[in-house]
């Protein structure tokens, strides 16, 4: 075994005042207090890297590698470089892409920032938004029961209230912070539905039902994982941000970008954080974000190879981190097995890899990508399409 991978966050107990705000904020009961020393500690197994404890700590004694205030500030600087007056700060769960939110507000020139959970954003960030001269910040969180981090949305709302008070104290207009709640859900086209019942079977939330010759999705139950979209044999289910046609287009674009070898990584939004904020740099790696690795679609994998990609990496969450009732990674495995069988007929099944990764441990995704690229070097030729 190599050296233990580095955990993404740390509680600096030596300066900690034992206020246990982090403990009460943690939605996953991952933080506990030692009854004798009164010191808090985090259980890496229970932690899901939501970052809520980071924003909860009043004394700055929790440090995190993901979206700490320095990272957020530099992201903000990059986002407002063109001097837009309005920022859209959205949770990746309900507004993963810029095009998902355009048209929601009157403002035309929008800067866009998307994070895995808004509950992780500390108060200072909102102050900073005012300082850099933004006139309006639209914050789009998930609806409470839709939140993948259980308490992410309520925590974000509390933070926002506090930030408003603070802004007023500092002489800014507190109404610049505006909050909306959103969801992304599967929509079913009953004209295309063939009533096969596949969605009923694969949905982790029992949202679809078959009624008189067509399926119907119960919007209150759907959590937008997109598994049914990837499995519907009639292509009758759509989901904003991961439509079949849009992803097909994205696969082609990513495959066309220069660089060698070309690795397309279909990555669950909750399995890896860092690479989502970086554009394609002409290197090997091209990231296609997925609402869940279970959205990873056999058709898109084939399409990638047809368009000249050398390898496809499907990055799922590690089992206990799955945000879809522990079914997302398993559906992804099933899709991968299906794709592998098809690729075997072309002799290129060695050019696909499934990796379970988590943002909890730093560098996991990178080392998987590196290992995969090495593997591709040794794989028999024949990838890269035509």
């Amino acid at each position: 075994m190599e050296a233990e991978p580095k955990f993404f966050m740390e509680i600096h107990v030596e300066n900690c005042g034992n206020c246990v705000y982090c403990l009460s904020a943690c939605p996953f009961e991952a933080i506990s207090q030692d009854p004798e020393t009164k010191k808090v500690k985090v259980d890496p197994k229970k932690c899901v890297a939501c970052g809520i404890c980071y924003s909860a700590c009043p004394s700055g004694q929790i440090t995190t590698a993901h979206y700490n205030i320095d990272v957020l500030n530099s992201m903000l600087d990059a986002a407002v470089a063109g001097n837009p007056s309005t920022l859209v700060l959205s949770c990746r769960g309900s507004a993963p892409e810029r095009r998902d939110v355009e048209g929601l507000w009157e403002e035309k020139e929008l800067a866009f920032l998307s994070l895995p959970c808004i509950g992780r954003v500390p108060l200072q960030f909102y102050i900073r938004c005012a300082e850099v001269g933004l006139q309006k910040v639209h914050i789009l969180v998930c609806e409470d029961e839709y939140c993948r981090m259980k308490k992410g949305s309520p925590v974000a709302q509390q933070k926002l209230e506090a930030a408003r008070l603070m802004l007023e104290d500092l002489g800014y207009d507190s109404s610049m912070l505006d909050l909306k709640k959103g969801v992304v859900r599967a929509e079913l086209d009953s004209n295309r539905c063939i009533a096969c019942g596949n969605c009923v079977w694969v949905c982790p939330y029992h949202a679809p039902r078959l009624v008189t010759g067509t399926a119907a999705v119960d919007a209150n139950l759907c959590k937008g994982c997109g598994i049914c979209v990837a499995e519907c044999p009639a292509l009758a289910i759509r989901m904003k941000g991961s439509e079949h046609e849009e992803l097909m287009k994205a696969v082609k674009e990513l495959a066309a970008a220069p660089g060698k070898p070309k690795v397309l990584a279909m990555v669950c939004r909750w399995a890896e954080y860092l690479h989502f904020d970086r554009p394609v740099e002409g290197g090997a790696l091209r990231v296609l974000p997925m609402p869940c690795s279970g959205r990873g679609d056999v058709l898109h994998i084939l399409e990638a190879f047809r368009n000249g990609v050398d390898g496809v990496l499907l990055a799922t969450c590690v089992d206990e981190m799955c945000k879809q009732e522990n079914r997302g990674d398993k559906r992804a495995q099933a899709h991968a097995a299906r794709a592998r069988g098809l690729l075997r007929q072309l002799g290129i099944d060695g050019r696909m890899r499934v990796s379970a990764v988590t943002p909890k441990y730093l560098g996991q995704f990178e080392s998987e990508v590196e290992a995969f690229i090495r593997e591709l070097g040794a794989a028999p030729p024949g990838g890269g399409g035509k």
Partner: protein, 217 residues
């Protein structure tokens, strides 16, 4: 099988959907075919489409003629019925089966298997046997089972085959209907099965009305 063909229609079937082989499957195989044929060089032009039922002439007429126009072969993803009806109705283009049709069965999704459950013998006994078919599910198609090869509820032929007669006994006992197993069942009339060559059945008169012009899809 498809040697030398370059303009192939991969045709899904939205019919019985067990397992579903509709538009997604057709597109999948279209892509695979194009990649495989493309390696050999030359022009490749495959398309994917689907019809609501390949075994229904009226439904085929809706969009099949349009889909098959200009194609030099059809790869059908339906069961053998669709493959044969396509050839019969539209003889201009050769049709090839995309899969083997194995049996009349049902699917267990949790455990991931398809199991044979009917042999289309033409003389149904399910009403007597508690909904479990001894013709298809007993390896010997016995009517007065079980035989001596039934052990711990398993068939002697293979231990992944549950003994159909064990299942029938259990079921009838559960229904409190032991009378059928208590008696001796006389030999059946097997003429409705595979006797006398290819089977044929004329539908009733009222089935033969002209097909409706508009069929809801």
């Amino acid at each position: 099988m498809l040697q030398g063909r370059r303009r192939i229609l991969v045709l899904g079937c939205d019919g019985c959907t067990q397992p579903p082989r509709g538009l997604r499957e057709a597109q999948t195989y279209r892509t695979l075919l194009e990649m495989a044929l493309g390696r050999k060089g030359g022009e490749v032009d495959c398309v994917a489409g689907t019809v609501s039922k390949q075994c229904d002439t009226a439904l085929l007429a809706q969009n099949y003629p349009e889909l098959v126009k200009g194609r030099d072969a059809v790869l059908s993803l339906s069961c053998a019925l669709g493959v044969q009806l396509l050839s019969l109705q539209y003889p201009e283009v050769p049709v090839f089966p995309g899969q083997n049709t194995v049996f009349l069965g049902y699917e267990h999704r949790d455990e991931g298997w398809l199991r044979e459950a009917c042999q289309a013998c033409g003389d149904c006994v399910l009403g007597e046997t508690g909904g479990i078919c001894p013709v298809a599910r007993c390896s010997k198609s016995l009517l007065n089972g079980p035989c001596g090869g039934s052990h711990d509820g398993k068939c002697e032929v293979r231990d992944d085959i549950p003994c159909a007669w064990q299942l029938i006994h259990d079921r009838l006992r559960q229904l409190d209907r032991n009378e059928w197993i208590d008696g001796i069942v006389p030999p059946r009339d097997w003429r409705s099965s595979r006797d006398g060559g290819v089977r044929y059945q004329k539908k009733d008169e009222d089935w033969n009305e002209p097909a409706r012009k508009e069929v809801k899809r």
